[in-house]
Amino acid sequence: MTIDRTIASDDAANTPVAGSATKARMVGGIPVAWQRTAFFIAVVIAIALPFLVKNFTIFQLTTVMIYAIAILGLNLLTGYNGQFSLGHSTFIAIGAYTTAILMEFAGLSFYGTLPIAATICFAFGFLFGLPALRLESIYLALATFALAVATPQVLKLSPFEHWTGGVQGLLVFKPEAPFGLPLNSDQWMYFVTLAIGLGLAVCAVNLVNSRSGRAIKAIRDNPIAARAMGINISLYKTTTFGISAAYAGIAGSLSAVVVQFVAPDSFTFVLAIGLFVGLVVGGVGSITGALFGGLFLVFVPNIAEEVSKGLAGAVYGVILLLVIYLMPAGAVGLIRTAAMKLATRRR
């Protein structure tokens, strides 16, 4: 096949790595060694930070990771599977209330409630995924938005008031560090969140690079071809919805104990849209992007407030516009482009 070879060699010329005898292993045009090093440095910093900053900053950083977990879940659904959701605040609420109610009324420890919250959210997500199968893109966004709008009101309903605490919500106790570890409860919850977040991120990376992950992405790229390849679209879409909801539920469960409080008005559609903003700012279809999304959600409103108290909303809007304009592929897209340029230059 001579023509094949000419086409192939053209392509090879465009690919910086092909043909060099000592080629470093690359993923996405960036040497794997660089990615490993960056990950290692990030983990070291993450472990050192709670001993270097004050308690309120630790709380903020924990919140960043909690947002990141929820954004990661949203990314699996929207970024990888192409299903929009403006209703993930609902799953965060379900996770948070599950933990709060079980700790308050069933006397369970926080750690016991976490898998229950994840399971309940998976079930809710899976069930919501069934009617969502019939809705395409923007219509699905609207349907999930309706869910987000309804959630705080449902939580306030008087028949549930005994369990949910109604408008006032429920107080939650923050677990102390076990085994006499020399950590205060903020530091301890930081490490719990870090461990859970890392575990969930590793699961997400494994998933998107696996057979299931390829099926999820194939459905997003071309559903008809995906079906012809034997992919059961309904099953994969609903399961992805369930997993995405479970991630949000875990984030909600963590937030309940970190904030030490659940109330209906913490879970309005503003939260859902915030997650969407975090998703886009961090990078759609990127696992590490979730962390940048979380950083944006926690710190940018503060920065905006420092710039101008009266115009904080407007400043936030301008920052958001600038970010989208300057980083159309999100923070991770920007970093990836820079690293690829650097990798090419060094060769």
């Binding site: 192939a8 699961c203 008809i224 034997g230 992919i231 997993i243």
Partner: protein, 274 residues
């Protein structure tokens, strides 16, 4: 992978080819489908013997792709049945077809555009491998995993080795067509449905494609159902040709017979050329 199949084809060569005694691999029986008031297919019947290359021809709108979509269960015909190795395909869903050993390519390329060439080909193995979300999230390797060497070999065979890690959307049409072919072959099909594989290719690429399809048939032991506008290609590689016009079958036979069939000539050139 292809050796046992090659033998099967070789023994076919010795016997009178595709004799009526053999059980057909695919049997299309009286398929009819209407869209609103338009009759897209009207009682189509034909069958494919194992190892055969059958070319489906007809003018634009004759119903070729519609028939393809019926076999791959994207459409449900109003009447008729399709049997594959004696199993009725009608109760099955589109995603269950590839598990039986039927894979396809698409007329206007239906690749997973943001994914790499390798990932596209790997999706082709979906129905022949097994895993679930939990095992995948925990990176647990089950028993039904992909044979990486085999996928690499398949990509090398189709001239895709150098572009394996490239995103499909960046590649030229000819290469994308081969990615589709590799994806369809990755699932070890018994029957390969090719929908206008020559569309968008240059003259020399079409010549190579003909050789490639025959080679795939021989080496992978697949039966091929081919929809194609490029008459030269169909006539060169098909064992049998079925001609459709306005949803009806107007001729069936060897390429030479169909080429000289007055009905076919009329369908293509108009009645004044009778």
């Amino acid at each position: 992978m292809a050796l046992q199949a090659q033998e099967a084809v070789a023994s076919d060569d010795a016997a009178p080819r595709f004799g009526a005694s053999q059980q057909p691999l695919l049997q299309v029986d009286g398929i009819a489908i209407r869209f609103g008031g338009i009759v897209a297919l009207d009682g189509i019947t034909f069958s494919l013997a194992p190892g055969e290359i059958l070319g489906l021809i007809g003018p634009n709108g004759a119903g070729k792709t519609t028939l393809f979509n019926c076999v791959s269960r994207l459409y449900t015909p109003n009447e008729g049945t399709i049997l594959f190795e004696g199993e009725n395909l009608m109760p099955l869903s589109a995603h269950q077809i590839s598990r039986l050993g039927i894979t396809r390519t698409f007329q206007n390329l239906a690749l997973f555009r943001t994914m790499s060439v390798r990932d596209n080909v790997l999706v082709g193995t979906h129905s022949k491998t097994g895993s679930n979300f939990l095992s995948d999230a925990l990176a647990f390797k089950g028993s039904r995993t992909v044979d990486d060497d085999e996928i690499t070999g398949l990509m090398e065979d189709l001239g895709l080795a150098d572009v394996a890690d490239r995103v499909v959307a960046d590649l030229p049409t000819g290469t994308q067509k081969r990615v589709e072919l590799a994806r369809a072959l990755a699932g070890h099909p018994k029957l390969l449905l090719l929908d206008e594989p020559a569309g968008g290719l240059t003259h020399s690429e079409v010549d190579e494609l003909g050789g490639l399809i025959r080679r795939i048939r021989d080496e992978h032991g697949v039966t091929v159902l081919l929809v194609e506008h490029h008459m030269g290609l169909v006539m060169a590689i098909s064992d049998t040709v079925v001609a459709l016009d306005f949803g009806r079958k107007i001729a069936e036979g060897t390429p030479a017979e169909v080429q000289n069939d007055p009905e076919v000539i009329r369908a293509y050139l108009g009645s004044s050329h009778k």
